[in-house]
C-alpha cells in the first residue's frame, strides 16, 4: 500500500462531519425521531461524532448504535480468512425511527446492502438514510448516499483509507494505491 495523497486532515474531516450533521438535521427538519447507527469498524466512530454533533446543535440526546455486518456479507465464504466477528449493539428500538446509517467509504455498495439486511432484521425503520464520509465511486449495486462528506473519484487500483483518532491515533483521509497482490 503506497500513500498517494492526503485528501483530508483532521480539520477538514471535522468540517465534513459537522456539515453532515447539519444536513441530516435540515433534511429531517430537526432531530426528533432520529437514530444514528454506524457500521463497524470505522463507521461507528464517525457515527458517534455525528450523533454528538447533532445532540449539541439540537440540544437533545441522540440514540446511537453500531452494526456488525459480517454475518450478512455476500463474500463471507469467498475470503480466505474469516473476518473477526464483532457485536451489533443497537440499544434502542429502530421501528418507526428515521435511521441514519453511517460508514466511512462508499465503494461497491455491497457493505450497505448487507447493512440494510442487518437493520431490517432488528426492526422496521420508517426510513433508512445513508451518510458516508467519502464516496469513491465504482458502484456494483444500485445504492447511493443521502449525505456525502467528499466525492473522490478513484481508479480501480486505488483505495481510500480513513483513519480515526480512536483506533489509528490520527484523523485523516488518504488516497492510496494498492499493491498488485493486495486483498
Amino acid at each position: 500500500m503506497k500513500i498517494k495523497s492526503k485528501i483530508a486532515d483532521e480539520q477538514q474531516m471535522l468540517r465534513s462531519l459537522t456539515r453532515l450533521a447539519h444536513e441530516i438535521i435540515e433534511r429531517n427538519r430537526g432531530a426528533k425521531n432520529l437514530g444514528v447507527i454506524g457500521i463497524k469498524t470505522r463507521g461507528d466512530f464517525l457515527a458517534k461524532r455525528i450523533a454528538d454533533k447533532i445532540s449539541e446543535i439540537e440540544n437533545l440526546h441522540m440514540p446511537l448504535g453500531t452494526l456488525d455486518i459480517t454475518l450478512y456479507r455476500d463474500d463471507v465464504r469467498q475470503k480466505l480468512k474469516l473476518p473477526e466477528l464483532r457485536r451489533t449493539e443497537v440499544p434502542f428500538d429502530i421501528t418507526d425511527l428515521n435511521v441514519v446509517l453511517v460508514d466511512d467509504v462508499l465503494f461497491t455498495g455491497r457493505t450497505i446492502r448487507s447493512a440494510l439486511d442487518a437493520l431490517i432484521d432488528i426492526g422496521r425503520p420508517n426510513t433508512i438514510q445513508l451518510a458516508v464520509l467519502v464516496d469513491r465511486g465504482h458502484r456494483e449495486l444500485p445504492i447511493s448516499a443521502d449525505y456525502v462528506g467528499k466525492n473522490q473519484p478513484t481508479a480501480a487500483n486505488e483505495s481510500i483509507v480513513v483513519h480515526v483518532v480512536e483506533v489509528d491515533g490520527v484523523d485523516e483521509i488518504l488516497l492510496v494505491s494498492e499493491e498488485p497482490s493486495g486483498e
Partner: protein, 307 residues
Amino acid sequence: MAQGMNNLLGLRDLSPEAIMEVLDTARSFREVLERPIKKVPTLQGTTVVNLFFESSTRTRISFELAERRLSADVVNFAASGSSVSKGETLKDTARNIEAMKTDVVVIRHSSSGAPHFLSRFLKSPVINAGDGINEHPTQGLLDMFTMREKFGELKGLNVCIVGDIVHSRVARSNIFGLTKAGARVGVCGPKTLIPDYLDQFGVKVFYDVDDAIEWADVLNVLRIQLEREAGGNFPSIREYRLYWGINESRLEKAKRSLVIMHPGPINRGVELDADVADGNASLILDQVTNGVAIRMAVLFLTGVKSS
C-alpha cells in the same frame, strides 16, 4: 482476523487461543438470539447433517436451532429406523450421506473416537456432539462461556466437577478447556468414579463434598449415568444422594456464594435437589441458552471455511 477451524473433535487438541476465539465469537451470536428475528443468512446454501447414533434432547435441538438460525439446510439422522439396523457400517453411512453433497457433519456416538475416525476420510468438517466417554466439546465450551459471562474471566476461577467423573465426557471437556483457560479444576465423587489419570492435568481431587463446596466458585454437577453402569460403583442411589448429592443445607454451610451448573438431564433428588436446581444460584438454563450461541459460533468457524 479469525482463524476458523477445520474440525471440532475435542478441547484436548484445541489451542487456548482457538478456545477463546469460539467464546468471543459466541458473544456475537448471543446478541443475535436476543433479537426479534433470531436468524442471520451466514450459512445460506450450506447443508449440515446431524448424525445422532445416541439419544439426545438438548444437544440435538440446540445444534438444529443453531444451524437453522444461521440459515443452513439441515438433515437429521437417527440411528434407529436407518440402514444401521441392516448392518451398514459407520464409515459407509457417513460416506454415503456425504456423497449427496452435504457440507458439515455433526456426530454423536456411543463409541469414543467416532468423530476422529470420520474426520480421517470425510472432506466435510466434523463436529463432535459427544463421543462415548471421551469428550463433549461444545458442552465444555458452553460451560466455559457461562462461567465467563458470570465471573468476567476464567483465570483463577475454582471449578469443581461433582459426580461420575470416570464415565463423563463433559468432565473431560471441562477439564481440558478450563485448565487451558487458566482456571483451577477440582473433581469430587466416590473413589470408584474418579479416574486415575487426573494428576497430569493438575486437577484437585475431593472425596468429601463439603470440602469441595468450601473450595469452589462453581459446582458443575454431573448426572449419575445409570445407563453407563455407574450403578455398580456405589451401593445405592440413596447412599449416593446422602454423601454426594447437592442440597440446600450443604450449600448454606459454605462461607462464600457459589453457582450451580449441570449439563442435563438432571436426576432430581439424586445428584441435585430440585430446590437447588431451580434456585437463584443455578445457571442451568443460562447454559442451555448459551449452548445455541456456542454451537452457532462453532458452525460459523468451521462451516464458513468449508464452502
